[in-house]
Symmetry: none
Subunit: 217 residues, 4 copies
DNA sequence: AATGAATGAGTCTTCATTCAT
DNA sequence: AATGAATGAAGACTCATTCAT
């Protein structure tokens, strides 16, 4: 799951105390980053928030970038975890879409602050850009796979390239979530999720009636 | 058009020479920003590229942010101009959508580099965030207006809130363009634009046959 | 003459004022280094001594090492200049030796403080080690050349390899000067220089009587 | 022999285990110092090499300087020991000189790496400078004593001050050895040692024939 | 207007040394 | 004795911005 090297600096395993301090620093960094953004955060802000001395930061991380990678890796893991947990078991495409979009919004909301930080860091840090891209790629991949299956089974229109529709629809969901949840643009949740679902369903021409049964598209 | 205060520092009008120097600085800044991003660019990079002395920068701009605002304003103006020029005169929704999406892609591609810079600056500079939001807002507004009209005329489905579908579809187009054209993810243009159009058309349930004539949606 | 790259950071030529500031910084660095050694000197010590702001240092130099290189290059130049100026015109080996040793001591004394600094820096900085070695190498080379000539002309013993005797005798003079003049070990100048000369003369078996005339060695 | 305070920190005697740990640390420090020099060596490099925890270092030493003093004391002891062991019993000055020079080279070669470290530390640490000076002083003293004896016995020229010739000749041997063996400048051993001996012998005008018997100098 | 030197606040980063366990 | 986490003083370096000419 992890993309960056999040291993602690000391090569030996951490003691219980060390692990606790490291965790405190990560926690503090997450707070500080969320509050003022990555760029505006100083190492001393983090150590102050963690209640450690300045230099302690460097016992566990090489740089601000590295601690963000550690956080991001963890967040991505939790994010994906949230999605997996709530995986729809139904084979009904409309239900799958509705379910996934809802889960996506729920998961995003839980990490909206740190996603904003990752988004910022991705604009100037290559490692972070790679991570950011990989998150999205994962969703595109998954959506494309579903679409390919549905097309094969005649459950949806087959006239659009799966990879491309998937990329477009994921861009929509992901970026809308960013503007809405990370940047705080107000939108009514119910309507938004409904519209999202409908756009997916219509784009893929998933038939309304008896969606688990093939229809003439 | 302008969002930030882009007036030159001296309140008096610029001499011809002064205007030329200012233009050279803007030009240079745009190059430098495009190449290494806003954060990585130093004032001296800009003045070196413009062939002026270090301090000359401050004869025309108050800060690095301000020169970016000047550039961004100009770019936004050209961006919107490009779209307006190519405005579809047809009333056929499908044609309008197809036309607008194509124009959008063309316009975005022309400013992809600087859009990446604006995107970066928007993550930490409020003025830039406001500008960035305003660009998108303009498109959402316009799309929502079209949709509202089409709905009123029975040219498209009326079951989704215009503002929300518009926001979602614009998020899709805008963010996909960013990833594709600003960040360089490869995609086949024809297919992408086709899929984009189809998603809009299907999302809005614009009937294929006789699109200028109302149909039962 | 110069070994390191002592060009000022700004690629353009310095203005009169800039050159003055740079000179002041070099002057100050030389004082500070001489007083407390290279390692114990902080950049702020130098700028304080030069009466400039902290950052001004970096307008002219990249690092403490670089300013030392600039100083060292200059010192080496002056050092070699001093020796050249006072070059013995006589062909008499004893006279040449006596003259050169005297000049060497005079030149060394003039730069004893900075030589101590160079000696220190050469123990951990490779560039400086190279410079330090190159100074000595120059003297060894010169001495070896003289010896070779004298041997060919029968003016001195030919049973020792010129390069090796030269290296040994230069090590003696150079290192004794370091201990005496740089580290401050007290020695009576007259006696020391006399003994130095005698050791060279005897080592090379230069005949006392009629030294410009070949003798049976 | 010891110059610095090399007593272990706890005043009580060391346990067997403690002594072993201390020895391991000294051994490790010597390796690390030799490899990267005193300044570039971190305490953690030493403890890592010794296979102990960071803090253990301070159970046995007060500082990085102190462990070097301990090493230097030991090295100086071994150095002098090597020389003493191989002491020439002959009274023949030429033989004594040749023997001593050879022994000196052998002894120096055995400690060339750590001598380089001591040389470095002596440039900024007073204790180390004192130690370094004391080593040389010992040799100068010894050489001066021999010379004085030989002069008194008519075995060598009496026109140069023993202390001064000794200081010069020791500077030659010592510094040449440093450049050759510590800094790695290549030289052919046989020729070098031969030339060294000859310089001493000629400088002191030790007669070739029947050197144990007084001659007219 | 233009120049380019001067400024100095702001941060990062290192690592010898201490300390609680 | 040993451990290894914690400390924090110390100093380097950057670069947007100001200023004297």
């Amino acid at each position: 799951m992890a993309t960056g090297d999040t291993a602690p600096r000391p090569s030996s395993a951490l003691t219980r105390k060390g692990a606790a301090t490291r965790a405190r620093l990560i926690q503090a960094a997450q707070c500080v980053f969320s509050e003022r953004g990555f760029l505006q955060s100083k190492i001393t802000d983090i150590t102050a928030a963690a209640g450690t001395a300045n230099g302690t930061f460097y016992t566990y991380f090489d740089s601000k970038e590295q601690v963000l990678m550690a956080i991001a890796d963890e967040v991505v893991g939790r994010f994906l975890g949230t999605l997996r947990e709530g995986r729809s078991t139904s084979g009904d495409p409309a239900e799958v879409i509705s379910h996934d979009n809802h889960q996506y919004v729920v998961a995003y909301r839980a990490h909206a602050d740190i996603m904003r930080v990752i988004e910022q860091a991705a604009t100037f840090n290559n490692e972070m850009a790679v991570l950011r891209r990989s998150i999205r790629e994962r969703f595109v991949e998954r959506a494309a796979r579903s679409i390919r299956t549905w097309q094969a089974e005649g459950l949806c229109s087959a006239d659009l390239t799966p990879r491309i529709v998937a990329a477009l629809l994921v861009a929509m969901v992901d970026n809308f979530a960013y503007n809405w949840l990370s940047l705080g643009q107000p939108h009514p949740e119910d309507e938004v999720v409904h519209a999202m679902n409908e756009i997916w369903i219509r784009a893929l021409r998933i038939p309304k009636e008896a969606r688990t049964h093939p229809a003439q598209l």
